[in-house]
């Protein structure tokens, strides 16, 4: 039973940490899948094939979480502090709320005008903001005593920027169709 309870960091032989070397993570995934993937167990019985599918599913899932900065940050808080930040979304930061509104408006206008070039420039801007936010989140996780409130706010801000990037893609898809 103990094995099944190993957290995503442990699955990849990592300490729970916000900083994850993405290249190493990706090459570790491939090594793990070399022994876990259902294709490696095609000659085993149905039980073995079922287990291989479950193990690979968990590895793929773990990889997706550790790869994505927002999911990784949320997972880290969950594992280390037992705090679930995936559901609660109240941020009391008027300046950020204002900025949020403005960015949404800018996106809506570009989408309505079907301005593909404008959307690309806008995406670049949001991407730069996300990078900056991710770095600042990383710094907060570096501190010895985690400021949980500040972490929550920081994660939420990054999440908003990623959601915006996602919506830009949807808007671009609509223009393409």
């Amino acid at each position: 039973m103990a094995e099944a309870q190993r957290n995503y960091f442990e699955l990849f032989g990592l300490e729970p940490n916000f900083f994850v070397d993405q290249k190493e993570l990706s090459s570790k995934l491939k090594r793990l899948l070399q022994s876990a993937h259902p294709d490696r167990h095609a000659q085993g019985g149905s039980q073995q094939q079922m287990l291989a599918m479950q193990k690979t599913t968990r590895l793929n899932d773990a990889f997706a979480v550790l790869k994505h900065p927002v999911k990784r940050a949320q997972y880290l808080l969950q594992v280390v502090k037992g705090i679930d930040t995936t559901k609660d979304h109240t941020v009391n930061d008027p300046e950020f709320l204002m900025q949020q509104l403005e960015l949404r408006e800018e996106l809506d206008t570009l989408a309505q005008q079907k301005d593909a070039a404008g959307l690309m420039t806008f995406a670049d801007k949001i991407e730069a903001m996300a990078e900056e936010q991710e770095a600042s989140l990383g710094q907060r996780f570096e501190q010895e005593d985690w400021d949980l409130e500040a972490l929550k706010v920081s994660i939420y801000k990054l999440q908003f920027l990623h959601k915006t990037l996602n919506d830009i893609e949807l808007a671009e898809d609509k223009i393409l169709d």
Binding site: E3, A4, D39, Q43, Q47, N60
Partner: protein, 618 residues
């Protein structure tokens, strides 16, 4: 070091261990079967030296049929009794039929399973799964005759952009043909395998696969035997047939043919294909079609087909974006499918990707060759090979929520196998049942997505609205097939289905069709099943005993060890008897008792993969 063994040509070093496996490319226009012999993957030819089998079936009124070239010849003589391009109907419902132009409305009927059935002039009625199964059976017979033995398993390729229902229909067809499917493999991934292993190609590859009726574009990273699909896209109803149709349309216009004249339209399609093929090598051809005599030039047909090619490039752009790859990062472009012979396609693809496309391996054969390589690995002929295929789902999987909206549970291009869960709740006080509608596609509205299945979770204890917690879990396996589980978590009420009903066959229907196709007496069937169960029992006993010896003491408590041991003894005794059911039950008990052990063993070996390498690296 072991001494080198030299074997007879055409034989493996250990003939008794070499199992027969084949790769099958089940195409819209043509199909192929390939296998690995003496370490080399090659397609198999018929007695006349022909490798491709036209995916055409001629049904006679006495229920006999012929597949391939002979059937194709009949197309000109009695088109009403010949079925071609059946792949276009796989996994489709009657509602989709307006998009599929090969079959006229009066030819199609709704069959019991919700699938369209094709009615021939001689009143023979066939559904798409049956027709595909007849093609598969013909291919398998060719392989078994050439190789001189029964096939242990096959890998069948499907367009990467095939949805769940289309994949399931393909697997059903194989089952109906009595074939063991080792894996459903995406066609572009198969092509990448053929290139990667044959030419040692590495880096970012774009596989451009334009077949008769489907178009796929996959972006893969090839590195040290790992074939990682980064993204895939395409159109499962776009292909070279559309070129023919566009040219045929032009011919029909020139000849002033009545729009209801089906015969003339079919002739126009055949003529169009000839013209297209002729114009790959020459610049102009003379055309005689019915009353019209004229000349057609390559430039002329290129104008006609350019919009179709441009549509494929739009898919390429989107898929590159999904893969997070810029056009100039693409190292190689591989051409797959007969329709990539059209010069305009090559020109436009080269211009788009800014690299000359590769055609070293015959675009018609490359998919079957890749499938054969994968089949050879999966059947266990090459167990220590490092080759690993990591594929993705092509289309998002979702569920219908309030207001007819589709909520995505697993987004497209997620690596498989994968499982995702989402929680829902009741919206009425005292609600005891919940309808779950599984859909696939990218659009926001359920009506614009493909409906895969509907089922109900019943027996939810009555609670106030919003209090129930219904967890819906989607599990996609390595074949890209979906299983859905719904559970009310506070009470533990469960419902699960393997997605197939919308336009597919139920397991019972397949079993019935299989049984009716067996000419054996029932007694023969039972004797065979008993034999198979005994073999399976022996396999389980051997595998579990070996595992116990290896690390049972290490990974199990004494009680756990004893429980497995005693269920093994029980199975050993039962398997001496003649009850199929008792043996089946005894196997099930062993598997249940040893499941946790098997899981721990697998975890240990997976963990070792990581540790072993880290030591290597120091």
């Amino acid at each position: 070091m072991a001494l080198l063994q030299i074997s007879e040509p055409g034989q493996s070093t250990e003939p008794h261990q070499h199992k027969l496996a084949a790769g099958i490319d089940l195409g819209t226009t043509n199909s192929l079967i390939a296998t690995v012999r003496s370490g080399k993957a090659e397609t198999l030819a018929d007695a006349n030296g022909k490798h491709t089998v036209p995916s055409v079936v001629h049904y006679m009124s006495d229920d006999n049929f012929e597949v391939g070239h002979k059937a194709k010849e009949q197309q000109a003589i009695e088109p009403g009794n010949v079925i071609s391009s059946i792949k276009r109907l796989m996994g489709r419902g009657l509602a989709d039929m307006d998009k599929i132009k090969e079959f006229s409305a009066n030819q199609l009927i709704e069959s019991e399973s919700g699938m369209p059935g094709v009615v021939l002039d001689n009143q023979v009625e066939k559904n798409p799964v049956e027709v595909s199964s007849d093609i598969l059976r013909t291919l398998a017979e060719r392989a078994e005759q050439t190789l001189g033995g029964e096939l242990g398993g096959v890998v069948i390729t499907v367009p990467a952009y095939f949805d769940e229902a289309q994949r399931q229909a393909t697997k059903d067809a194989a089952q109906l043909a009595g074939l063991k499917v080792l894996r459903l493999l995406n066609e572009p991934t198969a092509a990448a395998v053929a290139y990667g292993l044959d030419t040692g190609s590495e880096g970012i590859h774009a596989i451009y696969d334009l077949g008769g009726g489907t178009f796929d574009i996959s972006i893969l990273r090839l590195q040290k035997g790992v074939f990682e699909v980064l993204a895939t896209g395409g159109d499962s109803a776009l292909g070279g047939d559309d070129f023919d149709r566009a040219i045929a349309h032009y011919l029909v216009e020139q000849a002033n043919v009545d729009s209801d004249d089906r015969r003339a339209h079919q002739l126009a399609m055949i003529k169009a294909r000839d013209i297209k093929e002729a114009l790959t090598d020459t610049d102009t051809v003379e055309v005689n079609f019915l009353d019209w005599n004229g000349q057609m030039s390559r430039t002329q047909i290129e104008e006609i087909i350019a919009p179709i090619v441009d549509k494929t490039l739009l898919s390429c752009r989107r898929t590159l974006k999904d893969a997070g790859i810029k056009v100039d990062e693409v190292d190689k472009v591989v051409m797959v499918g007969g329709s990539t012979r059209v010069p305009l396609v090559r020109e436009k693809v080269e211009k788009h990707f800014k690299v000359p496309p590769l055609t070293d391996i015959d675009p018609d054969k490359v998919v079957a060759i890749g499938a054969a390589i994968q089949a050879n690995v999966l059947i266990g002929n090459k167990s220590d090979d490092d080759m690993l295929l990591l594929d993705v789902i092509p289309l998002s999987l979702g569920v219908e929520t309030m207001g007819g909206l589709a909520e995505k549970i697993i987004p497209r291009n997620t690596p498989i196998p994968i499982a995702k869960a989402q929680e829902f709740t009741t919206f009425k006080d005292g609600q005891t049942a919940m309808a779950i509608h599984v859909v696939q596609g990218e659009r926001e509205l359920v009506d614009d997505c493909r409906s895969l299945a509907r089922f109900e979770l019943r027996g939810i204890p009555p609670m106030v609205a919003g209090a129930a917690r219904i967890k819906v879990t989607y599990q996609v396996d390595a074949d890209g097939l979906l299983q859905v589980l719904a559970e009310e978590t506070t009470s533990g009420v469960k419902a699960d289905i393997t997605v197939k009903p919308s336009y597919g066959l139920s397991d019972d229907q397949i079993t019935n069709m299989l049984q009716s196709s067996f000419s054996h007496a029932e007694g023969d069937m039972e004797a065979r099943m008993l034999r198979e169960q005994k073999v399976e029992a022996a396999r389980v006993i051997e595998a579990v005993s070996a595992a116990l010896n290896e690390n049972g003491k290490e990974l199990l408590s004494e009680e756990e060890y004893a429980a497995i041991q005693s269920s093994l003894e029980q199975l050993n005794q039962t398997s001496q008897g003649d009850s199929i059911e008792a043996i089946e039950n005894a196997i099930e008990i062993v598997e249940k008792n040893s499941n946790e052990f098997a899981s721990r063993r697998m975890d240990a070996s997976i963990a070792k993969a990581l540790v072993g390498h880290e030591v290597d690296e120091i």
